[in-house]
């Protein structure tokens, strides 16, 4: 059963990665990366159960916090630095 959960998580992570590659805007990619991070956190927890080592949950707990801070940091970087400055005539922002 945990094998099934692991497979579903990996499939979803692959889908999120596909979206992160396809884009088209940087915000699509951040949505995908945020989702990927949440799924990675779940994968750590499920793997902990699969290998019967519940200590993995501590790592998952820390990952939950770091993932959130990381997404906010990436977004601020893309919003306020020159890399993420949208062009006035471009609807999609920075590609």
């Amino acid at each position: 059963m945990f094998v099934a959960a692991t497979l579903a998580l990996l499939v979803t992570m692959a889908m999120a990665l596909t979206r992160a590659f396809l884009g088209p805007t940087v915000y699509d990619r951040i949505v995908a990366v945020n989702m990927f991070g949440t799924k990675a956190l779940l994968l750590i927890a499920v793997l902990g159960f699969l290998t019967e080592r519940p200590e993995f949950l501590d790592i998952a707990l820390v990952y939950a916090l770091i993932n959130f801070v990381g997404v906010i940091a990436i977004m601020k970087f893309f919003r306020y630095s020159h890399l993420g400055m949208p062009h006035a005539k471009d609807d999609l922002g920075d590609l």
Partner: protein, 116 residues
């Protein structure tokens, strides 16, 4: 044994919602709608999987940690989505709208976003 069956049901349902969220992120047409699909995996799938795992663990410290994970996710995920949506809108990415009910909008002019 009964707890085993219940946890199977929760985890398999969680897997279903995970894959649905993944499909949604691939299928939906723009950033704002994709955010809703990502929301499914963040709330429903996380919740169901963690409840399933909690049934496996029983009443131990492991359950407490699992519930803390859900708590953190449920506080952090809407904050991140909101910040993303606001950043995308202020960066000038236009949502595909079927209906714009904001005051000052041109009153629900159907755009290309309808029935895609």
């Amino acid at each position: 044994m009964a707890a085993d069956i219940v946890s199977w049901i929760f985890i398999l349902l969680g897997c279903f919602f995970l894959v649905v969220g993944g499909i949604g992120v691939l299928r939906l047409p723009d950033v704002y709608t994709r955010m809703h699909a990502a929301g499914i995996t963040d709330t429903m799938a996380t919740g169901l999987l963690v409840v399933g795992m909690a049934f496996q663990a029983g009443f131990t410290l492991v359950t407490v940690k699992l519930l803390l994970i859900v708590l953190f996710t449920f506080f952090a995920s809407p904050t991140a989505s909101h910040a993303l949506a606001q950043a995308a809108l202020s960066a000038g990415i236009k949502p595909q709208l079927a209906d714009d009910r904001r005051p000052g909008a041109k009153g629900g002019a159907p755009s290309e976003g309808e029935d895609r």
